[in-house]
């Protein structure tokens, strides 16, 4: 099933992206330094990395949420509705998120 494969692939991508993100953003010198964030996001390469990160995390989060919800009998019958809502939400968040990243 596509959703299962999407979840697995985005998971593998996130292992890389998240490690990178935690090390680069959340650690030195101990917490988030806003100036360093602004400086880093000036670089188009970092913008691209963050957009790719956003795609991976939205895929994984929304397909995961879909699995959790459709595991319950009561919601299982509305599988298609949830799938479309998830895809639509993902698109909206992707557009908003990319716009945000580009705004830096």
């Amino acid at each position: 099933m596509r959703i299962f494969l999407m979840q697995r692939w985005s998971a593998v991508a996130l292992l890389v992206f998240l490690t990178l993100h935690m090390v680069v953003v959340h650690y030195p010198p101990g917490h988030i330094d806003v100036d360093r964030v602004l400086e880093r996001l000036d670089d188009p390469l970092w913008k691209a990395i963050d957009i790719a990160f956003l795609v991976a995390v939205l895929t994984h989060a929304l397909s995961g949420a879909y699995m959790v919800i459709t595991d319950v009998q009561r919601f299982n019958v509305y599988k298609r509705v949830f799938a479309w809502v998830g895809a639509f939400t993902g698109m909206l968040l992707f557009i908003y998120g990319t716009q945000t990243i580009l705004a830096f």
Partner: protein, 271 residues
């Protein structure tokens, strides 16, 4: 355990429910003697014959091959004909018996297994033989049989099904029992429709609804491994066309002496 001379007496709590009379299930206590070697099923028979004739439970063969007597013993599913009474007492020395979990109760320890059987039928649990059936016998190597990992030992007792937390959440999930049977047929060198079977499982309520909780392995009285079977099926679903092509090739030699040198599809799980 209280001792009465040399043979201890134990308390057994059994979940009772008579839909004609009771509003909801309740636990009833019985006392039975527990000599060494007495099984839980022996105790149930004794209670029914000597203490309460209305106690209702399923059983048949008494030696762990029919699968009728699977029930919930202190929270875990097992065959009670195969379970020594003394070995399954909880910390307080009590045994609690409930019917198989997550299924509608018909009476006392008997449950309605319709969903279990319906899901089983969904995987077409019979052999689809090839067109060229050999005159004498189908020849398979010991390695090909070993690749089935004893899946043919399944007695359809329902212990795995009732232990599965996904079944608890939704009966749409096909279930570990059906997937194990599908695995058996898909890897069987005599079966000629693996791609069709794998396509049927390629659904949200098929192989992808298993969340690898492993309760099925813990519950199985025959030490089978539905989770491993499901992981193998997941890999095969992705390359089902190639697998069927390899199977067709293998079936051309089904009536010939085994000269298995390299890998066959079954041996490598389709890789």
């Amino acid at each position: 355990m209280a001792t009465n001379g040399s043979v201890p007496t134990v308390t057994i709590r059994i979940q009772r429910f008579n839909p004609d009379v009771d509003k909801k299930p309740y636990l009833q206590e019985f006392q039975v003697k527990a000599p060494p070697g007495k099984t839980i099923l022996d105790a149930l028979h004794e209670i029914k014959e000597e203490q309460d004739g209305s106690l209702t439970f399923r059983r048949s063969c008494r030696h762990a091959i029919c699968g009728s007597c699977a029930m919930n013993v202190n929270g875990r599913h097992m065959l009670v004909c195969d379970a020594p009474l003394r070995e399954h007492l909880d910390r307080k020395g009590v045994l609690t018996l409930r019917p198989l979990a997550y299924l509608p109760i018909i009476k006392d320890l008997v449950v309605d297994r319709s969903s279990f059987w319906e899901q089983y039928l969904r995987v077409k649990p019979w052999l689809i033989p090839p067109e060229n059936i050999p005159e004498k016998e189908f020849r398979m190597s010991p390695a090909e049989v070993a690749a089935l990992r004893d899946a043919e030992h399944c007695i359809m007792c329902g212990a795995c099904y009732s232990s599965c937390q996904i079944i608890a959440l939704t009966k749409q999930y096909i279930g570990p029992h059906a997937l194990l049977k599908a695995f058996l047929r898909v890897l069987d060198p005599r079966d000629s429709a693996p791609a069709e079977r794998l396509a049927d499982l390629d659904r949200g309520d098929g192989v992808y609804r298993c969340h690898t909780i492993f309760n099925c392995i813990d519950a199985c009285p025959k030490n089978l491994n539905p989770t491993e079977a499901i992981e193998t099926l997941r890999k095969l679903v992705i390359k089902r066309q190639a697998f069927e092509a390899a199977r067709a090739e293998r079936q051309r030699r089904l009536d010939q002496p085994i000269e298995i040198v390299g890998e066959t599809p079954a041996l490598s799980g389709g890789e």
